[in-house]
């Protein structure tokens, strides 16, 4: 029984933390958010190249296909960093979720080797059209789309689809409706295999959203701590007032008790445990609550500043709201837990947590 990460895992996490701190400051996110930024696409390309140099796109690509062959447990540290720095969905959708689907294909499926290799190198984006999401994130900028059709998986090149884009409250998120026509040529997995690939993809998507929300909660708390230490009223920093402290302490409590839930879900998924789905749902709900409370408390302790475009809090707050209902909303995840645990034959009570 060992509920800790290895030194290597922690070191990689720390490296990515410093990397994003340097390469993706909030000013850059703001530039990408504002449409007028003429250099937006070169900023994006530059950042994508640097992320690839860090090896993030190769993280869970199997070693035989040119990757590092790491697992959901490694990803659970990464997604928190992606959340903390507000990294857009295309990165995690490509590097984690699409890779998960592709890696589950039989080796003789040519799409597998080709695209896993290209992803590991870092030059491409893959969008994932899971039926749990109404719209497909970043489909307009994808090179390849993995799409659902009656449980089959189809791999469709960007040139064969028509895309219309919706903006989200999180301006870094592009939600697309995709028109396309399935054909035997695009099908890469039949419904039998596809069903399990889509089920795994839902778990990975939900787990990734959960990890990002926990990272976002941490970011919002950090922003709020910094602001409340600076801002003075009644001759003192507002952070010294107990009501302000308790707002942020409550977020800290929620976050502290979401983290082990998130980590356990990643472990269960990596190990293929039968309750992995319920555990992922638990993580999604717990981290979502933490992020939701962080945004609510964060805006409150900022006063009117919290209600402005200028304060960075908004960027992270909006992303948290968006992710809370992505990859299954709360109803979906609560129902999974109810189906698994509100029943007479469920393994409940002391001693059953790790069985």
């Amino acid at each position: 029984m060992d509920f800790t990460f290895s030194e290597d895992q922690i070191a990689f996490r720390d490296t990515m933390h410093s990397f994003f701190a340097k390469e993706l400051p909030v000013e850059t996110i703001r530039k990408l958010w504002e449409n007028e930024a003429a250099d937006a696409s070169s900023i994006r390309a530059d950042l994508a190249g640097k992320i690839a140099e860090q090896g993030l796109f190769a993280l869970s690509v199997p070693e035989d296909f040119g990757g590092l062959g790491l697992s959901d447990v490694d990803w659970v540290l990464m997604t928190q960093e992606l959340g903390y720095y507000g990294v857009t969905d295309d990165v995690v959708d490509t590097a984690y979720i699409a890779v998960g689907i592709l890696a589950g294909l039989p080796d003789d499926q040519p799409v597998k080797a080709e695209w896993l290799g290209r992803i590991a190198e870092g030059g491409v984006r893959v969008a994932v059209g899971h039926p749990a999401n109404r719209l497909i994130a970043h489909a307009d900028r994808a090179d390849l789309l993995l799409l659902w059709h009656n449980d089959e998986v189809h791999a469709v090149p960007a040139a064969s689809v028509q895309v219309s884009v919706n903006s989200s409250v999180d301006l870094g998120r592009r939600l697309c409706r995709v028109n396309w026509t399935p054909s035997p040529a695009t099908r890469i997995a039949d419904a039998a295999l596809g069903k399990s690939l889509w089920a795994d993809a839902l778990n990975r998507g939900a787990l990734a959203a959960a990890g990002q929300m926990l990272g976002l909660a941490q970011r919002m708390v950090d922003i709020s701590i910094a602001y409340t230490a600076e801002r003075k009223q009644f001759g003192k920093p507002i952070g010294s007032f107990q009501a302000v402290k308790h707002h942020l302490a409550n977020v800290a409590v929620k976050s502290e008790f979401s983290r082990p839930v998130l980590e356990r879900a990643a472990y269960a998924l990596a190990e293929g445990q039968s309750q992995a789905g319920e555990f992922v749902s638990h993580a999604k709900l717990a981290c979502g609550e933490a992020a939701w409370l962080a945004s609510r408390s964060g805006i409150q302790v900022h006063g009117a500043m919290g209600y402005t475009w200028e304060v960075d809090l908004q960027i992270f707050m909006k992303r948290a709201w968006a992710l809370d209902a992505a990859w299954g909303d709360r109803a979906v995840h609560k129902n999974r837990i109810a189906d698994g645990y509100l029943r007479a034959d469920a393994l409940l009570g002391a001693g059953n947590t790790f069985n």
Binding site: T4, K245, I337, L348, A350
Partner: protein
């Protein structure tokens, strides 16, 4: 990360389970806040200790099993799963015991620990005073040195089961000129000394679960000082550390409550589902009991590998106490109009002991450092917010 038990851990679990199955009383004991119940619980602790299960985390040479925290968690899971009685000896073995091991002289360890383990001495905590609750540094009860004795005058209050305990431990002001947390000393006091009057206080459920202790020129030998004279605050903080950290409330307790809550919900599902928010509340109970367990295993893993417990442990107290209230409130809502019935009534079929548990859950955010105080600690020490 490897969330599986080792074969040794599985064997250990089996050993605990076998012993509990053979020894846990079949008929529940009476409430340990009654004299009869206290005696029954004391007898049970004796038996537990004779079986070698009294203080599993204590070192072997003191009669324990030198269990690490993961093994302790396994032990607790089996203890609660077996429906074993509440630990009437917890002040001694979980709070004072570890403090004595750290700060006591060899003579004190020899004198107190074995009797504590065998339940010959039962211990009460004597910190709170009428003017010193959350603000423990406001303690005024004096212990004035007179030769080889301290002479104690003043009053302690809210002392749980002090009425039946043999000894009390707490902080006393040994330097009458001192202020706040200076000049306090940690002293162990036999509760049958001349000059001590103990007056029971009835709690919310009507039982006299705690008591006031009045000291009128009570003479305590200086050998009963734990740590240095005037250094009591530091020693007391160590006791508070054990309590607030991990050992006070093991997750097994809440997992068993969550399990019972799910059964209660299933047994009354049709009625309960008339209020759609009840199902949500039951789901939350499962989630939070699980989260508390996972968090405790995570912390235990870190400590077993030589890590230190940090200020984030102040989040524990808030989490378990709010979870306990949530679960009991939910049970009350499921029981609906039956929830108010005391269990012995002719129509109180199936209400169980939820009401009693509900009442006790309300004390959780108050004792062992109120949740407001914990939030202050989290904000200042964990988040680094200004004082």
């Amino acid at each position: 990360m490897d969330l599986k038990y080792t074969p040794e851990q599985i064997a250990f679990r089996q050993e605990v389970r076998t012993w509990m199955q053979a020894n846990v009383p079949k008929v529940p004991l009476q409430d340990f806040d009654t004299e009869e119940g206290f005696m029954q619980h004391r007898a049970w602790e004796k038996k537990l200790n004779e079986g070698g299960w009294g203080m599993v985390t204590w070192p072997r040479e003191l009669g324990g099993r030198s269990c690490n925290l993961i093994e302790w968690l396994i032990f607790e899971e089996e203890y609660w799963r077996a429906g074993a009685p509440l630990r009437v000896n917890q002040n001694g073995i979980f709070l004072l015991g570890p403090t004595l091991m750290e700060y006591g002289t060899d003579e004190q360890k020899k004198r107190f620990l074995p009797r504590m383990a065998s339940c010959e001495d039962m211990w009460a905590q004597a910190w709170s005073e009428p003017g010193a609750g959350s603000d423990m540094a406001a303690i005024r009860t004096k212990a004035v040195r007179d030769g080889d004795h301290y002479v104690i005058n003043g009053q302690k209050t809210w002392s749980t089961r002090a009425r039946w305990a043999d000894w009390g431990f707490g902080l006393f002001r040994t330097d009458p000129e001192s202020e706040r947390h200076h000049g306090l000393s940690y002293i162990l006091v036999p509760l049958d000394l001349p000059g001590i009057t103990i007056r029971p206080i009835r709690q919310l459920n009507g039982l006299a679960g705690f008591a006031e202790i009045f000291f009128d020129d009570v003479k305590v030998p200086v050998e009963n000082l734990l740590g240095k004279e005037g250094g009591g605050w530091g020693v007391a903080m160590a006791t508070a550390g054990f309590e607030r950290g991990l050992m006070l409330r093991s997750p097994a307790r809440y997992q068993e409550t969550a399990r019972r809550l799910v059964s209660l919900y299933l047994a009354n599902r049709e009625e309960a589902d008339r209020d759609a928010s009840i199902r949500d509340a039951v789901i939350k109970a499962w989630m939070d009991a699980e989260a508390y367990t996972l968090s405790t295993y995570r912390t235990a893993s870190k400590l077993v590998q030589g890590g230190k417990i940090g200020p984030e442990s102040s989040t524990n107290k808030i989490f378990w106490s709010e979870l306990d209230i949530h679960m009991h409130e939910t049970a009350m809502r499921i029981l609906g109009p039956r929830a108010e019935l005391l269990p012995e009534g002719p129509d109180a079929d199936g209400v169980g002991n939820w009401l009693d548990g509900f009442l006790f859950s309300l004390a959780g955010p108050i004792y062992a450092g109120s949740n407001e105080i914990q939030r202050n600690i989290i904000a200042e020490r964990m988040l680094g917010m200004p004082r």
